[in-house]
């Protein structure tokens, strides 16, 4: 990735998948550097607090990635896909824990008026978004993946296109429609009764 060619990384991933532990040793620093690159691009480093938060985030994402079965990573594109998934899990896990901490129980209800706000949104907002995305993934897997890669994985339109082997133009168009769809589900609610899209 930053220090190796995509081909080399893909080869290492393949070797790891076959059980070559030394491939993993070479991958660790690359993966870490790659996650750092994405996080830094996403989080403008204007304050120390952010740098340090980014480090914590990268460490966590990295450890979750390292804990995964190597065989799941087929190539560099796959790595991006998996890391986007990991980022999504991190966000959702923490949002859920946060919601539970505040409520003292499992949070299912969506409450947009919650005062406890993270980066402009309450923890529950992210849970609702995740739920809406899960619905979208069911009816339209490609849109689901585009949202995951772009939103959770921090990938650009071009990178997303590369990962999914589609044109950047398709990514832009699908992204626009996915966004409208998610927005609608969040706004109208995501329970079966209130979700017109789910009614059939």
């Amino acid at each position: 990735m930053s220090t190796m060619s995509p081909q080399e990384v893909t080869q290492l991933l393949a070797a790891w998948g076959k059980g070559d532990r030394s491939a993993l040793d070479k991958l660790f620093p690359i993966v870490h550097a790659e996650l750092r690159r994405i996080a830094q691009r996403q989080m403008h480093q204007e304050r120390d607090g952010h740098t340090l938060q980014a480090t914590a985030l990268v460490n966590e994402a990295y450890l979750r990635l390292a804990g995964q079965q190597g065989s799941q990573w087929h190539n560099r594109a796959h790595f991006f896909a998996v890391s986007a998934q990991v980022m999504r899990h991190i966000l959702v896990d923490h949002a859920r824990a946060r919601a539970r901490d505040k409520r003292g129980g499992d949070m299912v209800q969506v409450a947009l008026d919650d005062v406890d706000v993270i980066a402009g949104q309450p923890a529950e907002y992210y849970l609702a978004l995740d739920e809406a995305l899960r619905f979208l993934e069911q009816v339209d897997p490609q849109k689901g993946r585009i949202v995951e890669l772009r939103y959770f994985g921090g990938l650009s339109v071009e990178e997303t296109a590369e990962v999914l082997s589609i044109s950047p133009r398709t990514v832009r168009r699908e992204w626009q429609r996915a966004r409208a769809c998610l927005y609608r589900m969040i706004t109208e609610g995501t329970t079966d009764e209130t979700r017109p899209l789910a009614r059939s």
């Binding site: 914590a56 923490h94 993270i118 339209d140």
Partner: protein, 644 residues
């Protein structure tokens, strides 16, 4: 909505988006025709698209990072020095304050167990630093403060990539503070709190780095005294940095027992009981940290200080780590339990031994990384029962046990074995050694003999220093030159060690005529040979020895050897000398020089020398007495006594 229907809506929605807003109504008239529900759905989507411009633009990385750091701060905020954003409102200093004409405060990083920690810029050295304020209890106690200054003066000499650098200690308005390296990272403690245990591969890596850092601290004679996850940082590269060695605990020592209640969870039994501490006390704490890294659980979960004391005083052992993590490598469990032995003497004697005992632990790499001598003990650092022990009574258990021990030694204790060919059992090598000694003309029966395994540290260091490739140890594969070698010595009389010491490769010295020492590489090829010539001079002053007898056994192609002038004096009296130069066929860049000597019709000396072999009186060698001492240490003491 059924997937088919969804696709229909989506297709019309997509086509509508392609058109200018004013053309969309006409398009929908045509596209939806009489399907009114379809039209309603698409119109809704178009409306939401208008409003969704700013939707999911939030930076999800910020959100996740914010959540993570907030959560990990919650339980730790009381005592942790977590480097995350803290309110500056009630801090003693505000950004912009300049302390001692040198440090400009940038912000408050946290409140540690000792006091406030600030991020600052060192105006003199133009680098970011962390300033740690010391508690009043320390600064008010003159003797303790003096001791603290002494500790700092030693600690600031420690420079290691896994140790947070200590720069200086200074005073401002009666407050003492420490300036140290500013590490961009987070505490291992808060990471563990968030994610539980580390994946095994990463945990092993963290454990190794911890061991290397701790070894570097110990090498300077500094004890950490308070090793725990909160004092271990993972920097921005995910690498370990040990902080607060020798310092935090010093402050706590001065405090009352009740005040300690928050931190003693990682103390060794001897520390809890107020006994003197050694490096092995830190090894105990290391064991507790490793337990937590690998399992995500604390080894002991005491509620109060007294309960902790009781837990530790009783012989209760912690729950087996494998109960928390069934797939845990048994080697890891074993090394953790060895660190947690109540009796310090039973714990590994160094952090490097711990590193070597971890799965895949390359003891030499660990040792060389930390700048320590890889003693054979370290090579054998792993399970005691696997290492060769002189006490193993060969006479009772027979050679089978020896073979077993040998196999255990190579299979468990070291990774070196993976790089060195080891087809031959020690018995085979011993028989071959004895046979060669006979072949060289030393036919009288041996009254005493002994053999063992040696490690050529100078060769390994040479590989480390000259070959930066990660696969450098692969070069050991040919077995020649030998990184691990087999040695055998025999004597016409008993080995006399009445002056003390154990019998080994070099002890007692070869003095008795007929004493021989031979070393072979692991494939049985001759590496060196020494013999003490007879005391009574031979009738003729000439030698009738055929050098090819020796050369043949070295496995080197004689056709490729160039006769040269001898340069090293033989260690024993000789009547003829010879020398050759050559290189290995598979590694032409590696040159060697062979020295040999004979007395009458028997060889007394044979040695294959390489660029890393220095004469004892070599000026370079003499200027570094430490290295000479280390070399002696590096000689194997793993041996078995035979025929006793």
């Amino acid at each position: 909505m059924k997937p088919d229907r969804w696709r229909e809506v989506d297709e019309v929605f997509a086509a509508a988006l392609e058109r200018a807003p004013q053309d969309r109504a006409a398009f929908l008239d045509e596209a939806c025709a009489s399907d009114r529900e379809l039209r309603r759905e698409v119109e809704k989507m178009l409306a939401f698209d208008q409003q969704a411009e700013d939707f999911i633009q939030t930076d999800v990385f910020h959100v996740a990072a914010q959540l993570i750091t907030e959560r990990s701060d919650e339980p730790a905020s009381k005592k942790s020095s977590s480097f995350s954003s803290h309110s500056i409102d009630d801090a003693r200093f505000i950004p912009g304050d300049v302390l001692a004409d040198r440090y400009r405060i940038v912000g408050l990083l946290g409140r540690g167990g000792m006091g406030e920690v600030y991020r600052a810029d060192d105006l003199k050295l133009k680098q970011p630093v962390a300033l740690k304020f010391l508690p009043e209890s320390l600064t008010a106690n003159g003797a303790a403060l003096a001791r603290f200054y002494r500790e700092v003066s030693v600690a600031r000499q420690i420079s290691h990539r896994h140790v947070c650098r200590v720069y200086d200690v200074a005073e401002f308005a009666g407050q003492h503070f420490l300036s140290m390296e500013f590490v961009r990272g987070e505490e291992l403690g808060s990471l563990l709190k968030r994610i539980g245990r580390l994946p095994q591969d990463k945990a092993i890596e963290v454990a190794r780095q911890l061991c290397a850092g701790l070894a570097a601290v110990h090498e300077r004679g500094v004890l950490h005294r308070d090793l725990k996850p909160a004092n271990i940082m993972l920097d921005e590269h995910g690498d370990v940095r040990i902080t607060d060695f020798g310092i935090a605990a010093l402050a706590e020592e001065l405090d009352q027992r009740e005040k300690m209640a928050g931190t003693p969870a990682y103390m060794s039994p001897e520390q809890l009981e107020g006994h003197e501490l050694t490096a092995r006390s830190d090894i105990y704490s290391l064991g507790l940290v490793l337990y937590e890294i690998f399992t995500g659980k604390r080894a002991f979960e005491p509620v109060t200080f007294d309960e902790l004391l009781r837990l530790r005083r009783s012989d209760s052992t912690p729950t087996s780590p494998a109960q928390h993590v069934p797939e845990l490598d048994p080697l890891i469990e074993r090394v953790i339990f060895r660190c947690l032995e109540r009796d310090p003497a039973k714990r590994p004697s160094s952090a490097l031994q711990v590193a070597a005992a971890l799965p895949g632990g390359d003891p030499l790499a660990a040792a060389l990384a930390a700048g320590e001598t890889p003693s054979p003990e370290m090579v054998a650092a792993a399970p005691k029962q696997g290492a060769l022990k002189p006490a193993v009574a060969i006479s009772l258990l027979g050679a089978a046990l020896l073979l077993l021990a040998f196999i255990c030694f190579f299979s468990r204790a070291t990774m070196l074995h993976r790089h060195v060919p080891l087809e031959k059992s020690p018995e085979v090598l011993r028989d071959r050694a004895a046979e060669l000694v006979k072949k060289f003309g030393y036919t009288s029966a041996a009254a005493d003999s002994i053999y063992g395994i040696g490690l050529d540290r100078r060769y390994l260091e040479y590989v480390r220093d000259t070959n930066p490739s990660p696969s450098r140890w692969q070069t050991l594969k040919s077995g020649q030159p030998a990184a691990i070698y087999f040695w055998y010595r025999q004597s016409p009389g008993s080995f006399d060690v009445s002056n003390g010491g154990d019998v080994d490769e070099n002890t007692p010295a070869r003095v008795l005529p007929g004493m021989t020492t031979i070393t072979l590489d692991t494939l049985g090829r001759l590496r060196s040979f020494y013999a003490v010539p007879p005391q009574s001079a031979p009738a003729a002053e000439t030698s009738s020895f055929d050098w090819s007898t020796l050369l043949k056994e070295s496995g080197l192609d004689q056709a490729n050897l160039q006769p040269v002038s001898p340069i090293w004096t033989p260690p024993h009296e000789a009547t003829a000398r010879a020398a050759w130069a050559g290189s290995y066929p598979d590694r032409p860049e590696l040159k060697f020089h062979i020295e040999a000597a004979a007395f009458a019709d028997k060889p007394v000396y044979f040695q294959i020398l390489h660029v890393w072999d220095q004469a004892h009186d070599d000026p370079d060698n003499l200027t570094s007495p430490k290295q000479r001492a280390l070399r002696v240490v590096a000689t194997s003491r793993l041996y078995h006594r035979l025929d006793r």
